[in-house]
């Protein structure tokens, strides 16, 4: 059947197993949810523009707080990173596709359906309202009797499954599909960042999976894992959540670090400074990321010894992070830096991430953290890291690789305007939040009294959010017009250093006509330039027959299997016939799995 599926049109996208198309699908979904999460943020900032505002109620505000965090983390930054993994990993390591193309399609559809399941909560007006880390026992049925928490639990469960499938796929792809000569220490840094991210996902996701199952059991089957009245402990959830949640922070930031490393080296037209140290520091951050979870819990009564040990481990993470920042600056040093939108976003990443990192060091001291935990100081900190850091880095990546993906350049003038709107808006929103935090404004409050000295900075923060929103609209405008009318992109518009620039923009379906072979880091650069900077003549094109390359066939099973899995989950968010729906889902899942297994790949 699969052989006769059309190569263009909607069916071809639903059945695609091409890593480049799946990457594009990931990016489009992530950008859609960026709008959703952005609207959440604008509504919240509008509520907080003046004290005692009555624009929205506390209940809805708590819902927006929860959904903004959940959306931005699980439905924007993670899938946008996944879009880059999908599109770039095979190209950068010189492979024809990922190790498991159909699993790759499966992970996308599972992600998309899980995300839609989570967002259905808006439509039925049962918005999860317990915060994105869903502290027990607020998640118990007694305190949240509607299905709001179930939507969140099942949505995250399904989206997490998608991440796990993708992580296994990319881990195997990177280690097993490298082209000839690409030993581990000749991989681009983005590939290293991706690899470490997948390790974190593989080891951290099962922990949250179990924790989510425990909430589901508490809510549906009367167990008491998080109910002190039945012998459970609420602190258990916090440990399980943050054992997942802290590696999750690095899952969000490492891909952006990889992207920024590539952009800075290309823009400075120099190799990444201290490449091997960058690799080791990436690994060190990943490893230490598992040893610091309790720094999110300094006020929960851990005791002095635990606080001291976890604060020491947290401070240690600052060391490899600092090493990275100085290496990025040194990468620029001695270069001939080209300022375009991509490099400006990448440079702003270094600056904003440094600010976020410094407030992070302040929180590594439990004494300071005790004063600032759950205040706007923390809100400022993690937005500097995840927005000024991860999101700015990802935007840099979008401007940098858009020509490779679409064959057209994004408009630079609009791009730079967006960049400056983002920089001004972002800093106007989040820098004042440091002051709000220092003046004791708790996070997640839907209103505040007028005599707390919080009025002015809240007003500024809201104006900043509006400015950022204008920047966001400009980006979508740029995106649409450039897709249609943008300047045609050459194969290598930025004078790049990695293998994806050696093939046409957009790349052919089979990626490389001849499997590439590399001898050194930045091999593509040295195909263009000698070691003393002389331009080399282009290698002559070798004859090649596209029919000689066998590509995996399209398949319907991934999307069906994903639908089955999501149907199982949706049995838990309805009041009636839940078991029946779940059983139907199970039947679809098992059926599709067998169909898949017996389909010739």
């Amino acid at each position: 059947m699969a052989k006769y599926l059309p190569k263009t049109g909607i069916i071809s996208w639903l059945t695609t197993v091409d890593h480049k198309r799946i990457g594009i699908l990931y990016a489009l979904a992530a950008l859609f949810f960026l709008v959703v999460g952005g609207v959440d943020a604008i509504l919240m900032r509008t509520q907080l523009i003046v004290p005692n505002n009555t624009f929205i109620t506390g209940e809805i505000f708590n819902g927006l707080v929860t959904m903004h965090g959940t959306t931005m983390i699980f439905l924007v930054v993670m899938p946008l990173s996944a879009a880059f993994f999908n599109f770039l990993v095979p190209l950068m390591i010189g492979a024809p596709d990922v190790a498991f193309p159909r699993l790759n399609a499966l992970s996308y559809w599972v992600f998309l359906f899980g995300a839609l399941l989570l967002n259905t909560s808006y439509l039925v007006q049962q918005i999860p309202a317990m915060g994105w880390f869903a502290y027990a026992n607020l998640t118990e049925k007694q305190f949240n009797p509607t299905h709001s928490v179930d939507f969140w639990v099942l949505g995250i469960q399904v989206v997490g499954l998608a991440s796990l499938i993708a992580a296994i796929n990319f881990f195997v792809t990177i280690l097993n599909m490298r082209c000839k000569g690409m030993t581990l220490l000749k991989m681009p840094l983005f590939i290293w960042a991706t690899l470490v991210t997948q390790v974190l996902l593989i080891l951290a996701l099962p922990v949250i999976t179990i924790a989510l199952v425990m909430i589901s059991f508490d809510r549906n089957y009367g167990t008491g894992f998080f109910n002190p009245g039945l012998g459970g402990q609420v602190i258990m959830w916090q440990h399980l959540f943050w054992i997942f949640g802290h590696p999750e922070v690095y899952i969000l930031i490492l891909p952006a670090m990889g992207i920024v490393s590539e952009i800075l080296a290309t823009s400075a037209r120099k190799p990444l400074f201290g490449y091997s140290v960058m690799v080791y520091s990436t690994c060190a951050i990943g490893f230490l990321g598992f040893a610091v979870w309790a720094h999110h819990m300094f006020t929960t009564g851990l005791g002095a010894w635990a606080q001291a040990l976890f604060s020491a481990a947290t401070m240690l993470i600052a060391v490899p992070t600092g090493v990275k920042i100085f290496n990025w600056i040194s990468t620029l040093w001695g270069g001939k830096i080209r300022f375009n939108t991509a490099s400006m976003f990448a440079i702003s990443f270094v600056a904003m991430f440094t600010l976020g990192g410094l407030s992070g060091i302040m929180h590594s001291s439990p004494v300071i953290d005790t004063q600032h935990q759950d205040t706007y100081f923390v809100v400022a900190h993690f937005h500097y890291v995840l927005y000024g850091g991860a999101v700015m880095g990802l935007f840099g990546g979008i401007f940098y690789w858009f020509p490779k993906v679409t064959g057209r350049m994004l408009n630079e003038m609009l791009g730079k305007t967006q960049f400056w709107l983002y920089m001004v808006g972002f800093n106007l929103t989040f820098f004042p939040m440091h002051f709000l935090g220092l003046e004791g404004m708790p996070r997640r409050i839907f209103t505040y009294a007028p005599d707390m000295n919080w009025n002015f900075w809240n007003f500024c923060a809201t104006i900043g959010a509006y400015i950022t929103a204008v920047g966001g609209l400009l980006f979508f405008f740029n995106f649409c017009i450039s897709l249609k009318w943008g300047k045609k992109a050459p194969a290598d518009p930025w004078d790049g250093r990695t293998l994806e620039w050696s093939i046409s923009s957009p790349p052919p379906e089979y990626n490389f006509a001849h499997p590439p072979e590399v001898t050194q880091l930045d091999d593509f650069w040295y195909q263009k330039y000698t070691h003393d900077g002389k331009r080399l003549p282009l290698a002559p094109e070798r004859p090649f027959d596209p029919k000689s390359i066998h590509l995996p066939d399209q398949s319907f099973w991934p999307i069906l299997l994903a639908a089955g899995i999501t149907t199982i989950a949706s049995g838990f968010v309805v009041s009636d016939h839940g078991v029946f729906i779940s059983l139907c889902g199970l039947a679809i899942t098992v059926g599709s799995a067998f169909g898949w297994a017996y389909e010739a790949p």
């Binding site: 309202a129 190799p271 400074f273 490449y275 004494v367 759950d374 002015f456």
Partner: protein, 352 residues
């Protein structure tokens, strides 16, 4: 909606008001002062690091910007081991300067001081209860009363979900965790503790104590933002007097108040006033203890001034002030509201 605070724009742009009610870095207790110390060490170090990053970054960007028309690539150099070692070792040294004072503070407050005043803090959705087990049956709601310059030993637990107890100017935020209770004694099986000393009175002759703003800082449901309280520091004598008189039953002197007393009979399933029949109703009450209600400055979880108007708004429909509040709309007539308000507010025997 109020107008945006344009007037503040003029004089406040780079000004953080250290006297703001919930300022976090002007702690007044022993803990607070130690925390300020650690905060400033860390902040100065962070500023140093910030400049150590920002200045080279900006310099690099200006000096190494590409020149138009120059297409030849720069020298391709790969790294420097000396530099890498340098920027590994220097941060480690700087971090030690943050770590050591931090750990000293942590261990300093790990144990209660002898003779500390014990206070039990119980979080409810969405109000605070304070019990003074060393002073008999003294119970307060929404207002934490402490004597000045006294070591305190807080024991904290929650009756429902996680809350977080925090008076910024006292310092030492600590989460208030739900727990199970011993079947016979009703004692909590686990609780958090906090050991700090209360601050000195700024004006030693201040009657009625000096107030500090506190608030719940862990998301705890629909009205999380409305779970505030006051910490009131008294002179030692005034605190002593307060513990003696707080449980004096109300003195019903007017006809209106007497009617109010009758209305209150409907409230006593959930609320207690010391020295009245409501005390005889057994079990843990779900509503706050209303003994000495007339002396409280704020009501409804510290969100409104304790005035007859606000009390009437509350009694007409509690959810209008605090969405999700457990207290139902009792359907009281205006006359009943006036009566019970008079009983609660005006019959209280005040200490100060």
């Amino acid at each position: 909606m109020q107008l945006p605070p344009f007037d503040e724009l003029k004089y406040k742009f780079f000004d953080v008001n250290w006297d703001a009610p919930m300022n976090t870095i002007s702690g007044l207790t022993n803990w607070g002062k130690d925390a300020n110390h650690v905060y400033w060490i860390t902040t100065v170090l962070c500023f140093l690091v910030f400049f150590a990053v920002a200045i080279p970054l900006i310099y690099t960007l200006i000096r190494f910007k590409d020149k138009p028309g120059d297409e030849s690539p720069p020298a391709q150099f790969h790294g420097s081991t000396t530099l890498e070692i340098m920027w590994t070792v220097i941060p480690v040294v700087l971090l030690i300067f943050i770590a050591v004072p931090t750990w000293r503070v942590l261990f300093k407050y790990a144990h209660a001081e002898p003779n500390a005043l014990e206070i039990e803090v119980i979080g409810h959705q969405w109000w605070w209860e304070f019990r003074y087990p060393q002073n008999g049956k003294v119970i307060s709601a929404g207002e934490l009363h402490v004597p000045e310059n006294t070591p305190l030993h807080f024991k904290l637990w929650s009756n429902d979900v996680i809350h977080s107890f925090w008076v910024p100017k006292f310092g030492g935020k600590v989460d208030v965790m739900p727990t199970s209770f011993h079947k016979e004694t009703g004692a909590p099986s686990a609780f958090n503790t906090l050991n700090i000393s209360s601050p000195a009175l700024v004006d030693p002759n201040k009657k009625g104590g000096e107030r500090y703003q506190g608030q719940c800082v862990e998301l705890c449901g629909a009205s999380h933002a409305l779970m505030r309280f006051n910490a009131v520091v008294h002179s030692k004598a005034e605190f002593e007097a307060w513990t003696q008189t707080v449980n004096t039953p109300p003195k019903v002197e007017t006809r209106l108040a007497a009617e109010g007393e009758e209305v209150f009979a409907r409230c006593q399933a959930c609320h207690t006033i010391a020295g009245t029949p409501s005390e005889q109703i057994p079990g843990d009450k779900i509503g706050p203890n209303l003994s000495n209600f007339g002396s409280r400055k704020y009501m409804a979880g510290g969100i409104r001034l304790n005035t007859p108007e606000n009390l009437a708004i509350w009694l007409r429909d509690p959810a209008s002030l605090k969405p999700g509040a457990l207290m139902p709309n009792l359907g009281l007539t205006e006359k009943e509201i006036a009566a019970v308000s008079s009983y609660l507010r005006l019959s209280t025997v005040k200490t100060y």
